[in-house]
Amino acid sequence: MSVIDISPEHGLTLSQAEILHGERRIIGPVSLTVPPGEVVTVMGPSGCGKSSLLALICGTLDPALSGRGRVLLNGEDVSARPPEARHVGILFQDDLLFPHLSVAGNLAFGLPPSVRGRKARRERIEAALAEADMLAFYDRDPTTLSGGQRARIALLRTLLSQPRALLLDEPFAKLDVALRARFRSFVFDHARAQGLPTLLVTHDPQDAAAAGGPRLQIDADGRILGARPAGRGHRPGGLP
């Protein structure tokens, strides 16, 4: 079942993706394309397999589950690759900053080794921090940061890894209301500026509204209920 057209040359494309637990289907089949710079929102109740869908794209699907279908990044089929070779960034509800590393250590972990030399690496990290107004936090222990600051560092870490797509697994759910709006636009602005195809999983309609892109509704049994084009005159990426 295809609810969204596939134009696989650019962006993130799922083709007939489904996830099974033994013989039982958890979610899918779903086909969609997220064009560069676009945010597609997948909405559904908890337990409907949204997170597993993201794990399928990352290549970190629970071995107890099996995935089918193809994942394409900029036209390349990455379905068979290990997660570290896919270049798909993911943000979870928790920031998951490594507690044994400093802020800069966390960012350096994300920065690919192709950026060589201590100086060059430091400059890249400092530039990223400065751009988020967090340069002073370079040497800080992440546990001393506020929730909003940690969330921003987590996004910077992901962006520094030079991903080709961004997956968001309810990353705003644990932030308080005021912070949520600010971090949301922080994430979406960065994703658009870098031209990242972004897939947002949430059950909060406000997240979806802020994302502005097309929405995909999933019911509790993992069935795709249908797609709604973006509201508010936003460019309807990849929709019929």
Binding site: A55, C58, G59, T60, D62, P63, A64, P82, P83, E84, A85, R86, H87, V88, G89, I90, F92, D94, L96, F98, P99, H100, L101, S102, A104, G105, A108, F109, G110, P112, R118, R121, D139, R157, T158, S161, P163
Partner: protein, 565 residues
């Protein structure tokens, strides 16, 4: 991929490493038990070893001692653990006791036994403290308080060692069964605190501590080092008697020893079977008791009794260790003085040369066994996670095999195997023999924290482009630094405490602090015993202290290094 392939074989290799010697050792013990042992001229099978065994004078007495101390110690330790946890649940005492349990578990059995002996012997510290002003004893009273005819001193020693182990295992199990919720429900239905715990929590917890309990019973029924110090020796409990037969200059006694070792195994199997029957009976009675709906009282009496007993045990162990330390620096301590009349470091100085060598052997063996066990355990756990496997109950049973099978029942056969493969009395044999017992504990210690680490950290790192090996070294290992070091300390402590494996696999060529302390206990110079036993207790304690203190500086260095990279 090459490395992934290697990891895949690790669980099999690990199982083989610690199960093969046990199985081969059992076979190598059962064959001589039925007369087959070609190198000693036994070419045909016969029942002669068994008839000789059953004709041995004192066998019945040995069995009586074994059964009394084994069952009495296990039942008492279990009941005390359960009643203490039920009566003191949520109290401050549990927290305090919990902190003390790890060091108590770390102290080797032999050191606890010697400390206890120094304390409760007729000429021991307790009598000295109250003599002669309270007792009028100018000479040590003529009662056997150590090596008593019923093995009660041994039973007490076993209880001191086993209660901490059972307490820790049960406390860990409590977290898994969501005890707080169960208790809250039962209390709100009007049940008293102890009754609520026994009726609503114990049935769930018991399932989790069944295996550790069996291991305790198996150990208590077949203990050798503590028995050599605390149990009567004419005749001794069965396991000690079997060891004596193995060491008999008359080589034909090896057949009898092998039969005795097999009898020891049968006793442990029967003992566990009997315990299982007890479980079934208790379950039936328990159901009826729960269905009866009696709410129970406020639990003040059990709280007083259990708390007093547990504190008493801790005090005994601590005083015993203090006694060892005191004796090691004693120059003169005449009976019935409460304190030594003069102190000196002479004993330490005299023993220094051999002490250094023996401590070296202990350290090397312990660190090697613990490090190998840690590598294997980490490899197996990482393989389990990468392949999404979950450890089944059956594998858990396999882990417990070296803890359930009495050492004396297979070490002789394993030694025969070692001689045939030419590794007898080498470092390989020594470390390997320790590994059999170190590995299960390291695995059990590390397994829960390893599996509890939020898997999304690893997923995030993978999605940032890190390979699985880098994720292991730079994310999982540093985050698990504390439990990893703790597991290492546990492994080291388990190795230090080993007595029989060192004797058998070392072929008499290796002396550790444990073999030395136990060997000296037959002699009589308490000052020398104090030196060896105190150092034996000190090493594992230092290991635990290091495991607690090291993570901070290590983590700091790591942080700096990663930033520089």
């Amino acid at each position: 991929m090459h490395r992934r392939g290697l990891l895949r074989f690790l669980p099999g290799l690990t199982l083989a490493l610690f199960l093969a010697p046990v199985i081969a050792g059992l076979i190598g013990t059962w064959l001589p038990a039925f007369g087959y042992f070609p190198s000693l001229g036994g070419d045909t099978f016969s029942l002669a070893p068994w008839t000789t065994l059953f004709a041995q004078p004192g066998l019945a007495e040995s069995l009586r001692l074994t059964l009394i101390s084994g069952f009495l110690a296990t039942v008492s330790a279990f009941l005390l653990t359960v009643i203490f946890l039920a009566a003191c649940h949520g109290g401050r005492l549990i927290l305090a006791v919990r902190g003390l349990m790890a060091p108590l578990i770390a102290v080797p059995h032999a050191a606890v036994a010697l400390g206890l002996a120094f304390l409760i012997a007729p000429s021991g510290w307790l009598v000295r403290l109250v003599s002669p002003w309270a007792t009028g004893w100018d000479l040590p009273p003529d009662v056997a308080t150590v090596q008593d005819a019923n093995g009660l001193a041994l039973t007490l020693g076993l209880i001191i060692k086993e209660v901490p182990f059972l307490l820790l295992m049960t406390l860990a199990a409590l977290e898994q069964v969501r005890a707080e919720e169960r208790l809250a429900v039962a209390r709100s239905l009007g049940y008293g605190p102890v009754t609520a715990w026994l009726k609503a929590v114990l049935p769930a917890v018991y399932r989790q501590i069944r295996l550790p309990l069996y291991a305790v019973l198996a150990y208590a029924l077949s203990v050798v080092d503590m028995a050599l110090i605390l149990a009567p020796l004419t005749p001794p409990p069965l396991a000690v008697q079997v060891l004596r037969w193995f060491n008999d200059p008359d080589l034909s006694m090896r057949f009898v020893a092998a039969a005795g070792a097999c009898l020891q195994l049968l006793i442990v199997i029967a003992g566990i079977g009997l315990w299982r029957l007890g479980e079934v009976a208790a379950e039936g009675l328990g159901r009826a008791w729960i269905a009866g709906g009696r709410r129970g009282g406020d639990g003040r009496l059990p709280r007083l009794v259990a708390a007093g007993l547990v504190q008493g045990l801790v005090a005994l162990a601590a005083a015993g260790l203090l006694g060892l330390a005191l004796w090691s620096v004693t120059r003169r301590w005449r009976y019935p003085d409460a304190w030594p009349s003069s102190l000196s470091l002479d004993t330490w100085a005299h023993q220094a040369p051999s002490l250094l060598a023996i401590t070296g052997t202990t350290l090397v063996t312990g660190l090697a066994a613990a490090a190998i066990a840690l590598l294997l355990a980490l490899g197996c756990l990482e393989n389990e996670q990468r392949r999404g496997l979950t450890l089944s109950n059956r594998v858990l049973w396999l882990l417990y095999v070296p803890l359930l099978v009495p050492q004396v029942a297979f070490l002789f056969g394993a030694q025969v195997l070692a001689i045939q493969t030419g590794i007898d009395a080498t470092w390989i044999a020594l470390v390997w023999s320790h590994l059999l017992f170190v590995l299960p504990y390291v695995f059990l210690t590390l397994g829960d924290p390893y599996r509890a680490l939020d898997e999304r950290y690893a997923r995030t790192a993978l999605c940032l482009g890190a390979r699985p090996n880098r994720v292991f070294w730079q994310v999982k290992l540093p985050m698990l630094l504390r439990p990893v070091l703790f597991a290492l300390a546990v492994g080291f402590a388990v190795s230090v405490t080993q007595y029989l494996p060192t004797l058998f696999a070392g072929g008499g060529r290796f002396a550790t602090l444990t073999t030395e302390a136990v060997g000296l206990s037959a002699g009589g110079d308490r000052r020398v015993m104090g030196v060896y036993a105190f150092l034996q207790a000190l090493l594992p304690l230092l290991a635990f202290a290091a495991a607690l203190a090291l993570p901070k500086p290590l983590a700091l260095r790591r942080k700096l290094r990663i930033q520089a990279a």
